[in-house]
Structures are given as structure tokens and as C-alpha cells.
């Protein structure tokens, strides 16, 4: 494939990418939800995954995080083959994700939510305080997760993922539903997480947020990558414009 969406963007992709996806395909009952996705992410890099509803963004996250097995293709995390690994194995290899609608352990306290992940993850030197400080939940340790508002539940979902010590983090619509004043903070958080050496793949619909956080964007349509490059280039790409404006 000469027009691979990866690798062609400046010098950002180092020799051993944090995440390398090649030919990733997933069928549901014969229908391809993902169809030959190639993607590479370097440490410290933020890539935004764009595309209309049903284009396969969340399916990609579900396959890469081990919740669905790929029908074909490979996933490599930090140079290790992780194709078809279970979610637990992905966590150990160094990949984690957040959920579009957050899934904290609702009857448990914030403290317990983070402790479960700290205990079963791979970064035992990390402290609960650090993680909660980072995601902005410091001081809310004793709250029951179910009593948190939806933004706080997203923060807790992110804390659960971070507490396992991932090198690669897949973030599914973290900004959606946040208030204006929270958006700027969330953007800075995403950049901080990348600056600390993680590779981030973020699914977002809010273009302002994407502009703030993403080094580059990949656009999916009907399970296929149709564009890879900068957000500015994407805005002038005829295929991308067609998909988003509902042409053809």
C-alpha cells in the first residue's frame, strides 16, 4: 500500500513506534466495520481520529484494546506483538483506553476505583495521589463514583486507565459534554499526558479541541482510512469534505 496513512508526516514517527497497527480489519457478521487500517503513533504524539458516526472510530479502539479480536491485521505496542491479546494482557503490555460513556466502578469510592487499577496494572511505583492530581480529582477520594457528575466520571475513567501505567492511551471522546471552561483544561491535560511520554490516540468531534491537542489527524469513513495529515490539510481534502458534508 503506497498511500499508507502513517509514516508520511514529518519526523514525528520514530524508528520504533509506541503503537503500530497494520491492515487491521474487523468484520461483524460478514460486514467490515474496520477495513485494513494502518496507523503508527510515536511516544509523545497525539493523533486525532476523525470521521462521521459509524465510521469505525470506537470499533478501532475496541479492537486495539483487545475487547474485540481483529479479523485480520496486526497490533504492536512498544515493539511487541499484541495482536488478539485480551484486555488484561493489553494492560500488562502497556496500552489502555477510556470509554465514550465513562464506566467507573459505580458503587466504589474514587480511591478504590484507582486502587484496583494501580494494583492490577504495570506501574506499581505510581501513586494514587499523583494520578488523581493529574486528572483533577484530588480531594474527592472518598466520593462514591456513582455520585460524581459526568465530567468527573470521565476524569475517573481516565484515572483508571492512567493508573495502570500505559505507554499508549486511547481516549474516546473525552471532550464531548465538557463545558467551555473545562475544555481548555482538558486540552492541556491531553498535551501533558503526551509530554510525559505517552502516545495518545483521541477520538473527538469537537474541531476546536482537535486543533488544540492533535499533532495530526486520521479520518475514517466506512471503516477505511481516507486521509492522514494535518487538520488544515484535512479541511481542504475533497474526500474528507465530501464525507463530512454528506456528498457522494
Amino acid at each position: 500500500m503506497g498511500s499508507s496513512p502513517s509514516g508520511c508526516v514529518g519526523g514525528l514517527v520514530s524508528s520504533s513506534p509506541a503503537l503500530r497497527i497494520a491492515g487491521l480489519t474487523r468484520h461483524f457478521g460478514g460486514l467490515p466495520a474496520l477495513d485494513g487500517i494502518d496507523l503508527e503513533l510515536a511516544r509523545g504524539e497525539v493523533v486525532a481520529l476523525l470521521g462521521p458516526n459509524g465510521s469505525g472510530k470506537t470499533t478501532l479502539i475496541n479492537v486495539v484494546s483487545g475487547i474485540y479480536r481483529p479479523t485480520a491485521g496486526t497490533v504492536e505496542v512498544m515493539g511487541r506483538n499484541a495482536t488478539g491479546a485480551t484486555p488484561q494482557a493489553m494492560v500488562k503490555i502497556g496500552l489502555n483506553r477510556t470509554f465514550q460513556s465513562p464506566r467507573p466502578f459505580r458503587p466504589l469510592t474514587v480511591r478504590e476505583n484507582v486502587d484496583v487499577a494501580l494494583r492490577h496494572g504495570r506501574a506499581r511505583d505510581q501513586s494514587r495521589e499523583e494520578v488523581l492530581e493529574l486528572v483533577g480529582l484530588a480531594g474527592k477520594e472518598d466520593r462514591i463514583a456513582d455520585s460524581l457528575n459526568s465530567a468527573e466520571q470521565k476524569q475517573l475513567d481516565l484515572a483508571r486507565a492512567l493508573a495502570t501505567g500505559p505507554d499508549v492511551l486511547l481516549v474516546d471522546e473525552f471532550a464531548a459534554g465538557l463545558r467551555m471552561e473545562e475544555l481548555d483544561w482538558a486540552g492541556k491535560l491531553v498535551r501533558t499526558l503526551a509530554a510525559q511520554g505517552r502516545a495518545l490516540l483521541v477520538v473527538e468531534h469537537l474541531m476546536g479541541f482537535v486543533r488544540q491537542v492533535a499533532d495530526r489527524v486520521v479520518v475514517l469513513n466506512a471503516g477505511k482510512p481516507i486521509f492522514a495529515g494535518s487538520l488544515e490539510e484535512a479541511a481542504h481534502d475533497t474526500r474528507v469534505v465530501e464525507v463530512f458534508l454528506g456528498g457522494g
Binding site: 488484561q88 464506566r103 466504589l108 492490577h120 496494572g121 483508571r160 493508573a163
Partner: protein, 302 residues
């Protein structure tokens, strides 16, 4: 707030003393064994959400494990009881693949497994080993006083297990799994493994309960120790008190088993009716068990 140490120590001490004030020792022993079974249900259902309708299978396996140890290995009764516990945990390990099923299928499969074990043991063709449908006789090691003490110790052990599961990191993982199995996997928790440990603890307790029952009655038939109503009562007692707590199944068993026997003795002709109505009322008005009254009061204060 009562400390966990008291919760673990008070029930066995209470049962130990009770035998000097109440002359029906077998009734007290049965109540203790139901406390243990209800706590076993508590560990597997209260902390993982898996409801084993075939829970009695472990009880029967424990009773027969003990009986066969006495008959064929001629071991002392105390060791035979421990071997009964081993029979329970081995059956638990054998059935652990069932934990890959989802809730309702698990409940039915565990029931089928218990029935299968019953038919295996009571089959006349294996009567050379199990004495088939004719039951077993352990009168050579009969010692009701010692069996009672063993049951007292087992009540303490069951309380200890529940307190440990509730307070430990292991218990925290189980509660996380119960809250959201998918998130638990994404937190790195080995979900099936954690459920299996809970299942093995639970099956050990039931195996030991069956073992002590077999020792205490010394003569029993397969249908007595594989009686499905044992599963049902243990589940009802646990739910009535409130699962996921330490105190709930204990209180549930003492209250309901007490009521059960009071009705059974005073109004035997209305027993099924009164008991049935009682259970319906509980499900309607106290779906989370007796202890939820206290918890409800507490959350209202906040």
C-alpha cells in the same frame, strides 16, 4: 460500629453457649451449618453476582467425602471432615469452567451439576463404593459433641472468610468486577481467576458444612445431603439478611431459620403457606435484605 473481630468471634461463642440453654443440639447445629452455607452464598453471589442453584452439590460432596474417608481410609473423624472440605474444593475446581458462563446459564448449569453428582452417588451400580441409594453409616466415629464444636469453629471460619473478602484487595477486585466486568478487565484484573478464587472459597465452606453434617448425623441417605431445598434455603437466608455484608447472612439465617422452625413446630399444616407468603413479602419490601433498613436509614441522615 461493631468491629470485624467481634463479628467473627461473637457468632461462634454465641452458638457454643446456646447449647447449654437449648436442648435441641441438632437444631442448633443445623442452624450453624445454614449460617455457613449462607455465608458461602454470600461470597460467591454477594461479591461476584453468580448464583449457584446447585450449591448443595458441595454440601453433598463434603458429606460423602467424609463418609468415604472414614469407611475406606479409616481416618479419624476430624481428618475425615477436612477431607470432606477437600472434596468440596475439588468439585469446585472441576466446575470452575462454569464461571465462563453468564449469570442465568451458570445458575442452571450448577444445578444440573449437583443433580448429576447426586445420581452418580445414588446409583445402585456404584453401591460397592457409595452404597448407592441405601446411604452410609458412620456410627463408628459418631460424636455429636465434637461435631458441634467443629460446627462452631466452622461458623468462625466462615465469618473470617467473609470479613477477609470484604476488607482485602481481593474483595475490592471482586466488587469492581461485579460493578463492571469490562472496566475491571481494562483495569488489568484477571476476572475469571478472581471469580474462581471466590468460587473455591465458597465451595470449601459448603464442603466442610456437609462434612460436619455427615459426621453429626452419622447415618444419611444421598437424597438428604443433595436435597435441593438446602440450596434454596441457603440462598433465601443470605438474601433475606443482605448479601455483600458480613452480618446479613448471619442475621438472615438466625431469624428465618428460627421462624421456619417455630412455624414448623406450632403450625405444621400452614408451614408452606406462611413461609411462602413471608418470602414474597421480603422480596417485595426488602429486596436488598434486612441490613438495607439500617443502610437506608444511614443514607437518609447524610
Amino acid at each position: 460500629m461493631v468491629s470485624d473481630g467481634l463479628l467473627v468471634l461473637v457468632p461462634p461463642i454465641g452458638f457454643f453457649i446456646a447449647q447449654f440453654f437449648y436442648n435441641n443440639q441438632l437444631l442448633l447445629l443445623t442452624m450453624m451449618l445454614y449460617v455457613v452455607l449462607a455465608q458461602g452464598i454470600n461470597i460467591i453471589f454477594g461479591f461476584t453476582g453468580y448464583l449457584p442453584f446447585g450449591y448443595v452439590g458441595f454440601f453433598g460432596a463434603g458429606a460423602y467425602g467424609t463418609a468415604l474417608s472414614v469407611i475406606f481410609l479409616h481416618v479419624p473423624a476430624a481428618l475425615a471432615v477436612l477431607l470432606g472440605g477437600v472434596a468440596g474444593v475439588l468439585l469446585g475446581a472441576l466446575l470452575s469452567p462454569l464461571l465462563r458462563l453468564s449469570g442465568a446459564y451458570f445458575a442452571i448449569a450448577s444445578l444440573a451439576a449437583a443433580e448429576a453428582l447426586y445420581y452418580l452417588i445414588s446409583n445402585p451400580q456404584v453401591s460397592a463404593v457409595t452404597n448407592g441409594p441405601y446411604g452410609v453409616n458412620l456410627s463408628s466415629v459418631y460424636n455429636s459433641g465434637a461435631a458441634y464444636i467443629a460446627a462452631v469453629a466452622l461458623v468462625g471460619l466462615a465469618g473470617l472468610c467473609v470479613v477477609w473478602v470484604r476488607r482485602s484487595h481481593f474483595g475490592m477486585s471482586l466488587r469492581a468486577i461485579r460493578a463492571d466486568p469490562l472496566s475491571a478487565r481494562m483495569a488489568g484484573v484477571q476476572v475469571v481467576r478472581a471469580r474462581t478464587y471466590a468460587w473455591l472459597i465458597s465451595s470449601t465452606l459448603a464442603g466442610l458444612a456437609g462434612a460436619i453434617y455427615g459426621w453429626a448425623v452419622s447415618v444419611f441417605y444421598p437424597e438428604a445431603v443433595f436435597d435441593l431445598s438446602i440450596s434454596v434455603f441457603a440462598i433465601v437466608f443470605a438474601l433475606f439478611g443482605g448479601v455483600g455484608t458480613v452480618l446479613g447472612p448471619l442475621l438472615g439465617t438466625i431469624v428465618l431459620f428460627g421462624v421456619y422452625n417455630a412455624i414448623g413446630i406450632s403450625q405444621p399444616q400452614y408451614f408452606q403457606l406462611i413461609y411462602g407468603v413471608l418470602i414474597v413479602l421480603i422480596v417485595l419490601f426488602l429486596p436488598n435484605g434486612l441490613l438495607s433498613i439500617r443502610l437506608r436509614g444511614r443514607s437518609r441522615v447524610k
